[in-house]
């Protein structure tokens, strides 16, 4: 069986590791040793849209990772990627390494730490962790994969097929940027507004009846993002406003990670999402006053509890 390393066992990492372990030989790299111990002893349970418990390898020591792994998925949060990539320097010599973080720039962070062939991914699935050895599969939307450095569309397709075989949804693209940018604009807008208002992603985000309704702001933020994509030469794969409306119509109140982070007083991914978008806008001379305001407000919100 294909040997796969999944580094980071938050909800996305756990979902990937559990499903892949049904069709591959999976080792999970965790930050905490007791997390790895729990996975080794209890296996990993998935509830929700899948329902099974699986056995897999787990370690908190990067030196113990199988040196012949063919694929490594770095599934940590964007804020943890730099230290993780540094930790993996020199390891996993035969692996293709796939990033799956929100926002922009994850590939460059990893590229700076090794010569691995790289794949890009964005994921639209979601899950909720109920402890170290149990994850609930909530939204069964797809993970999209594309080549980045030293890889091809065919490589992306093989990884997508492996993930699909494990029971998740995945799709390969010749160029991921259109999809990545759709999600970037969607995340910068929805996650930022959710973090500032305390609202989960629900009907308010598409409401446009009254002038002060939140939907107007969401649409204006999306329009600014679209202008940046145009200036960057990216043709969006999906319209972020439609993604927003569709998500609110599912009747499921999704709590974006940025909202969960500010409520738990944790650092957020605002730099790699909102910061990345605003910096791209500056680079191309596109005015984005509203995205800039959201970016600054979330940064300040972080400062209110981190200083």
């Amino acid at each position: 069986m294909t040997k796969v390393v999944v580094a980071g066992a938050g909800s996305i990492g756990s979902l990937l590791a559990a499903h892949l372990s049904r069709v591959a030989d999976v080792t999970v790299l965790t930050r905490r040793e007791e997390h790895a111990a729990a996975l080794r002893e209890q296996g990993l349970r998935v509830s929700g849209r899948s329902d099974f418990t699986t056995e897999l390898g787990a370690t908190a020591d990067a030196a113990e990772l199988p040196s012949d792994a063919e694929l490594a998925i770095l599934a940590c949060k964007g804020t943890d990627l730099e230290p993780l990539a540094a930790l993996l320097e020199g390891a996993l010599p035969g692996a293709r390494v796939m990033t799956i973080q929100n926002g922009l720039g994850a590939e460059e962070v990893v590229a700076a730490h090794g010569e691995w062939p790289l794949l890009s991914a964005v994921t639209f699935m979601s899950g909720t962790r109920h402890g170290d050895a149990h994850v609930e599969y909530v939204l069964d939307t797809a993970t999209w994969i594309g080549p980045y450095r030293g890889t091809t569309h065919e490589d992306a397709r093989r990884v997508a097929e492996l993930i699909e075989a494990g029971g998740l949804k995945a799709k390969a693209f010749p160029d991921l940027r259109p999809a990545q940018w759709s999600k970037l604009i969607f995340n910068a807008t929805v996650n930022g507004v959710a973090a500032l208002t305390g609202l989960p992603h629900d009907f308010h985000f598409a409401q446009t009846e009254q002038l002060s309704d939140l939907g107007h702001l969401v649409r204006d933020l999306v329009d600014e993002g679209r202008a940046v994509a145009v200036a960057s030469g990216v043709e969006l794969h999906d319209d972020p406003w439609e993604m927003n409306v569709l998500a609110t119509q599912r009747g499921h109140r999704h709590f974006p990670s940025m909202l969960e982070d500010v409520e738990a007083h944790r650092p957020t991914e605002v730099e790699s999402i909102n910061g990345a978008l605003v910096r791209e806008a500056e680079r191309h001379g596109v005015p984005v006053p509203l995205q800039t305001a959201v970016y600054r407000l979330v940064k300040a919100r972080e400062a209110s509890y981190s200083e």
Binding site: T197, L211, L214, L217, R253, A293, R296, K299, A300, S304
Partner: protein, 306 residues
């Protein structure tokens, strides 16, 4: 002279308690909080802090008890203006009604119920500690001016004079929109930023990126004021930087932040929402104020979820 203060939270209490000490002035305090009303009638209305005063206005929660008054001073939160004046308008058929509230649009609301309206902007502040007891945090000036030609300036002067004699310095001017817009722009550009980020006034101002956002909001407010021919009596930017000094209000949590922390409805519709509305009438774009209003409305909506 008979004056009724409508709404005796912190600011209303400052007016009611101080005015009640004047000879020849009878002060009524109208408030819906029965505990507060009963306590005032039992032991008087106490202010402590910037001034120590025990006043004895007659308090009631029953608008029907109010006798005809020469002046009303409306000091409710802006979202309560309409029901408060609808209940009390009968007491002011021969008098003038002044607003000392925050925000834009209060005068228009009052003018739908009473004939003579006085535009007012006040800077003293405090907080209600317990029924009939208000902490007076800062002293400050009040400016009054006629809302329209139906209000004689002489009446405005009579009210300003009474307030001044009572220790609440006030002046009467022809056009009181300048100070009103300066305060509204100050509040709209700083309060919601505190409310959305959790930062005190000083910490908002010392972050260069946030300070720039504040200036963006101020500039929109100035453009809307200027389109109406309003001349600000001072630059809100100066007020913002002055208030950020450690010896002034660096550690002050904006009232809107206090509201958000206590999950009370905010006055954002009358601050940023007012700037957006007046801007819309004059075709002036106010995208940042609109964004801020939508975000704070979102915060309020989040409390009724889950």
């Amino acid at each position: 002279m008979r004056i009724c203060v409508v709404g005796t939270g912190a600011v209303g209490s400052l007016f009611a308690a101080n005015l009640s000490l004047l000879d020849g002035v009878e002060v009524w305090a109208y408030d819906l909080a029965q505990e507060h009303v009963d306590a005032i009638n039992r032991g008087g209305l106490r202010l402590s802090g910037a001034g120590d005063v025990v006043g004895h206005p007659r308090a009631t929660s029953d608008a029907g008890e109010l006798p005809p008054c020469d002046f009303g001073i409306v000091a409710t939160k802006a979202m309560h203006t309409s029901p408060a004046i609808a209940a009390t308008a009968h007491a002011f058929t021969e008098g003038c009604v002044a607003t000392v509230q925050n925000g834009l649009g209060n005068e228009e609301t009052l003018a739908r119920h009473v004939e003579r309206v006085i535009r007012g902007t006040t800077f003293p502040a405090g907080k209600l500690l317990e029924p009939a007891h208000v902490q007076w945090d800062v002293k400050g000036d009040t400016t009054f001016g006629p809302y329209d030609e139906r209000t004689p300036l002489a009446e405005v002067e009579r009210l300003a004079d009474a307030c001044t004699r009572a220790g609440m310095p006030a002046k009467a001017v022809d056009d009181a929109r300048g100070p009103q817009w300066r305060k509204v722009i100050f509040n709209a550009s700083t309060n919601p930023i505190g409310a959305l980020t959790g930062l005190t006034h000083g910490r908002v101002v010392e972050r260069p990126d946030l300070r720039a956002l504040v200036t963006g909001l101020v500039d929109e407010g100035k453009a809307v004021a200027s389109a109406q021919g309003i001349e600000l009596d001072a630059d809100p930017e100066e007020l913002i930087d002055h208030a950020a000094r450690k010896d002034v209000a660096y550690d002050h949590k904006a009232s809107m932040l206090q509201d958000v922390e206590a999950r009370r409805p905010t006055e954002v519709d009358y601050l940023n929402g007012g700037i957006v509305r007046f801007g819309h009438e004059r075709d002036i774009k106010t995208p940042l104020n609109a964004a801020i209003q939508a975000l704070v409305k979102g915060v309020e909506a989040s409390w009724t979820q889950s």
